[in-house]
């Protein structure tokens, strides 16, 4: 255990692009590495990924461990897991982080089994005790009703998957220096038991929500489907995307892919309107990292006001129509159009 040193981050690549969560983890990993006074490394697997290594360094890594192989072109558990386990056994990191994406979770679970070590799932808070060199990974449990800190005292590496959009990436710095270490990994296509036949991209509303610049979200406080039209109207006025709470989706006012929260989408728009939303923790985890949050609720004690930048206490049916008018005036004044593309 004493010989394990260094913080590792799995770099997930899709279509030649690094997933945002991997960059966020380099930011979070940088803090842990500085606290423990050890190097931060990115683990980069794929085919023709050499050019990506520079980006990994710009975002905070000191070292990039790279495996470039035709068999690693697309993510498959068995190929990726073999490569990662071989690297971890050779270089012995003490902490190893993965994005809690479908691939990141899948890979981390397989690697943890082969390395016989602990894995904390869906972490939303990370810290390290520098004396004990112990990773403190906290995660929501029991449907988000409570947080639990998970520790792995006697096994190394200490591993965790971390939810996207909760950590902050560093500003990229092109002058940062780092080392790229290329690993020879023995892999044969003929030994693979699975094959990706086809990748189908669906640019649904979900993708829209995830990328939306402004979101107007409504809750059960809108009364009924008809009342909810006010949400659509405000959204249309300011060019925003519509979202809602689980209760709204369950009531059939919105399709499921527009649900925001723990069991829906995690969003980080510049501006988030929460109207007639109580602010249950399961909703809040999905939107609290928005840059500006404006809440409208008639209950002054509604928990949504705890996360709101600006909170308007009052009846949405009185406030929102006036707000729409004011925005219309403002837009006219500024040139007649609002656009985020």
């Amino acid at each position: 255990m004493e010989e394990n040193r260094g913080i590792w981050v799995f770099i997930e690549v899709t279509d030649g692009k690094v997933e945002g969560v991997s960059l966020e983890l380099l930011g979070a990993g940088r803090k842990l590495a500085d606290k423990l006074e050890v190097p931060l490394a990115g683990v980069l697997l794929g085919h023709d990924v050499r050019k990506i290594s520079a980006k990994v360094i710009e975002y905070g890594a000191d070292i990039v461990y790279m495996a470039d192989h035709a068999v690693l072109e697309l993510y498959r558990t068995e190929a990726f897991m073999k490569a990662v386990v071989a690297m971890a056994e050779k270089y012995k990191p003490e902490i190893f982080l993965y994005g809690a994406t479908p691939n990141g979770k899948d890979l981390a679970s397989a690697v943890a089994t082969d390395l016989s070590t602990g894995l904390t799932a869906d972490t939303t808070m990370l810290d390290v005790d520098p004396e004990k060199r112990l990773l403190e990974a906290s995660r929501p449990a029991f449907g988000g009703n409570i947080m639990a800190t998970i520790l792995c005292k006697k096994h190394r590496p200490q591993m965790a998957t971390v939810r996207p959009k909760v950590m902050k990436a560093l500003e990229p710095d092109a002058s940062r220096k780092g080392e790229v270490i290329e690993e020879e990994i023995h892999l044969e296509e003929s030994e693979m038991r699975t094959k990706v036949l086809q990748i189908v991209k669906e640019t649904t509303k979900t993708a829209n929500l995830a990328e939306a610049h402004v979101i107007v979200a409504g809750g059960k406080g809108m009364g009924d489907k008809n009342g909810f039209m006010l949400i659509h109207e405000l959204a249309k006025t300011i060019g925003a995307t519509v979202g809602g709470t689980r209760d709204v989706v369950e009531a059939g006012w919105l399709p499921h892919d527009q649900q925001i929260g723990q069991t829906g989408e995690t969003v980080t728009p510049k501006i988030y309107f929460a109207i007639g939303i109580s602010g249950a923790i399961q909703h809040v985890v999905g939107m609290k990292n928005s840059e500006l949050i404006i809440a409208i609720n008639k209950d002054p004690d509604a928990p949504i006001f705890d996360v709101a930048t600006y909170g308007l206490v009052g009846d949405a049916f009185e406030i929102v129509p006036q707000l729409i008018e004011k925005f219309k005036e403002l837009i006219k004044e500024k040139g007649g159009e609002i656009s985020y593309v």
Partner: protein
């Protein structure tokens, strides 16, 4: 086809209560149910069986009361079930859980070779989604997680084609059989169980195995002892600090809001 479905008994987190003083789960407050994703896993196994013929076996690890989820699985369409239950399993994290379940799977395999293992995407209490891929590694079959459709299955050629949900879309994956799938809720709809299943389930008595029944097992890898992770402290989710609360008449409130938004006007992108 011999399909084994892993099913877990969980507290219903929709109505769970947390004791605010001790930050622990009040287990009495929440009824124990079959993990919802596992219900879909059993349903999918029954659907595959209706196409290829064969047997659906369910496997659970838990306290003696967990026989209830095996009976529930029989109601949905499983043929038979095993519960592994022993104090030695208690306190297991995902590593120890996948070890114990893989040992039981090996025993089931001795009786009748297993073609397919199906798990839920995750259990709604522990909520890690780590047990499925863990089992697959231990018995050395490929895992395919987040499956939303079993598109093709050919038991003679030992091949399966499935849709795997991805961040934005899905992948079509071909795998050799045996393999392990973890399934999403979209994979099927669960309707009412047919009457004969209900009658069968009511009478069904699952087989219960203790550690001793599992044959050669490394006890150091079981339960709390075999778990590298421990739950440290539990705490209420941090409440972020609120910003500015604006009260009063709607017209005044909006005036004030619009004034505040002036300072943030760059967040809106006006096209001149």
């Amino acid at each position: 086809m011999h399909i084994v479905v892993c099913v877990k008994q969980v507290p219903d987190t929709k109505i769970i209560k947390i004791n605010p003083k001790t930050n622990t789960l009040d287990r009495r407050s929440a009824p124990a149910i079959l993990n919802p994703y596992d219900a879909h896993a059993v349903q999918e196994a029954a659907r595959i069986k209706s196409r290829t013929g064969g047997t659906v076996t369910v496997l659970s690890m838990g306290p003696p009361q967990a026989v209830a989820v095996i009976k529930k699985s029989v109601e949905i369409g499983a043929d038979r079930g095993y519960l592994i239950s022993d104090r030695a399993f208690a306190g297991a994290d995902t590593l120890a859980t996948s070890y114990a379940l893989s040992k039981a799977l090996e025993k089931i395999e001795q009786e009748s070779p297993v073609d397919l293992v199906i798990c839920g995407k995750h259990a709604i209490d522990g909520d890690t989604g780590q047990v499925g891929p863990g089992i697959a590694r231990r018995i050395d079959i490929p895992p395919i997680t987040n499956v939303i459709e079993v598109s093709k299955i050919n038991s003679d050629e030992k091949k399966i084609v499935v849709k795997r949900k991805q961040l934005n879309g899905y992948e079509l994956i071909e795998s050799q059989i045996p393999c392990l799938l973890t399934v999403e809720k979209e994979i099927n709809d669960i309707g009412y169980s047919p009457m004969p299943n209900m009658i069968k389930a009511a009478r069904y008595e699952p087989v219960i195995w203790s550690v001793a029944d599992l044959g050669e097992v490394d006890r150091a890898q079981l339960g709390l002892k075999g778990s590298p992770t421990i739950v440290g402290k539990m705490f209420s989710p941090p409440r972020p600090e609120g910003g500015k609360k604006i009260e009063g008449e709607p017209t005044e409130q909006i005036k004030e809001l619009m004034k505040l938004l002036e300072e943030k006007i760059d967040l809106f992108c006006f096209k001149a």
